[in-house]
Symmetry: C2
Subunit: 278 residues, 2 copies
DNA sequence: GCTTGACTTTGACGTCGCGTCAAACCGGCA
DNA sequence: TGCCGGTTTGACGCGACGTCAAAGTCAAGC
């Protein structure tokens, strides 16, 4: 028989742990002195303690370990628990890998440009949303800006505020030659099939912005003229973190670009659908 | 300005989280209604919130994030923090990989033999210890048993209890032909250079059992005659979990093999030094 | 105006596996 | 007999929130 400290030393655990396991009923001392309350452990209890530790190392909680030791659990049930655990561990493993990549790319960024100016790119998922948009091809950025303002102003006038949500510009992939193919429109709070006719014979057509599971996003103040550097920033981030672009990118105007007096410039969220590079 | 729920929805966090960050001073609402206490957030606070989330995702604690946002930390310091974090994440990554291997091998074990009889192999590290031992080569198991009992009994008589620790049998690698090369002796509570002469002209010589960083161990009741199956069990475990044997194995007798009347058989710990298979 | 239901406030407790500390008690040795 | 180191119970702390409770607030519908 050993006192708690000796037994703890033998088993390479802390006395606190042994007292705790006693309290949970996982491992009661072989004998407790009625006078002093001292716990006495037998070396024969070591296998049981090791059993607890082995199961704990598999990631099971102490609550789960209890019934297992009492053989109240069939092998099939244990197998099911372990399968669940395996899935969980695999998830957290991938999460840790991602974290590691992000840390390393951030370190590399500091080394490259000394600055700690975090781009604060974050990953999020976005749901599908009804979208009322103008499909157009623009020759240059000036034209893009004109079209965006046209949609913004006419849309603000002609779409009910309760229905209208946010102004969004989506790049399309089917660019013809040098032109920029875009979709410019408003996300809607609920589906609607009605189109909207703008000045100059343009038409907003009802459609849907598809859901994207993983979106690398960056919120940035400033007009869309200055947004090139931010696009580049997100691009570098995507590369450095071992992702690749997996769809058309979006610009979401979080604040109306046709602001009140004292307007400080738009707040725009840049979104790139991404997936992990295999 | 948004109420907490809307802002939470936009940023894909919970309201509770926002209140918590407010409490910590990480992200105070742009305005609080003095009457009602309602928090109102501006969309312009989104970048800051995203900054918090980005740093949190790197694994930094909220405590660490605070000073970072206030720019009270130099890039060099941030770099150092990230390097530390990286090391930590790498450690936990490897731990998760190990856990995953162990879970999978346990599942495979259930599938193979249906039983949930956990072998309860656990990894531990052992320190170097002074060792007073007999070097011998035995032709068969009978001889081993005789030698072990000889050492056990003579040792128990001739070594002071305060100095004598546990009876240990170590396999040696330099086996000559068919014979089993062993070291049989006692670990000591402190170093000693004195040899001990046994009956039959055998000699216990002072030496040292080296430390082992990673030891796969299994505690098993029963005499050493029955121990073969346990050796096999540890062996399978080692293979299934992607380890390899990295040194001479040991048998540690946790309870004296020369017991009192009513003796139930020895309690023996089998130890294999192991390392990860690359 | 009143009701209703969705939203918000503060405050408190729970999580998980112990680590750490405090105050009092016990055991063996000089 | 004193002393030092071990032991007991009990309590709090951790980290980042989730969850619940009781009470107040807001906008819409009647």
């Amino acid at each position: 028989m050993f006192r708690i400290g000796e037994f703890a030393q033998i088993a390479q655990v802390s006395s606190r742990q042994l007292r705790f396991y006693d309290q949970l009923g996982l491992l009661q001392p072989a004998h407790i002195d009625a006078q002093t309350g001292y716990r006495y452990y037998s070396i024969r209890q070591l296998p049981r303690l090791n059993g607890i530790l082995a199961l704990k190392e598999l990631g099971l909680s102490l609550e789960q370990v209890g019934p297992l030791l009492k053989d109240e659990i069939s092998p099939a049930e244990l197998r099911a628990m372990l399968m669940l655990k395996r899935a969980e561990v695999e998830r957290s493993l991938r999460a840790e890998e991602t974290r590691l990549r992000h840390i390393e790319s951030r370190i590399a960024q500091i080394d490259r440009q000394g600055g700690a100016e975090g781009f604060d790119v974050i990953l999020k998922s976005v749901e599908a949303t009804p979208f009322l948009s103008l499909h157009c091809s623009c020759a240059d950025m000036d034209e893009v800006v004109r079209m965006v303002h046209l949609v913004a102003e006419d849309g603000a006038r002609q779409i009910r505020p309760a229905l209208r949500d946010k102004l969004i510009v989506v790049a399309r992939n089917d660019h013809d030659g040098e032109k920029l193919a875009l979709e410019i429109g408003f996300s809607l709070t609920r589906p609607s099939n009605a189109g909207v006719r703008l000045t100059g014979d343009y038409l907003l057509r009802a459609g849907e912005l598809p859901a994207v599971e993983t979106m690398a996003t960056l919120v940035r103040p400033g007009t869309n003229m200055e947004s090139h550097s931010s696009f580049g920033a997100v691009g570098s981030w995507i590369e450095a973190n071992n992702y690749q672009i997996a769809g058309p990118c979006r610009e979401v105007f979080l604040e109306s670009i046709t602001g009140p007096p004292g307007f400080e410039g738009a707040l725009v969220e840049i979104q790139f659908p991404v997936r992990l590079t295999a």
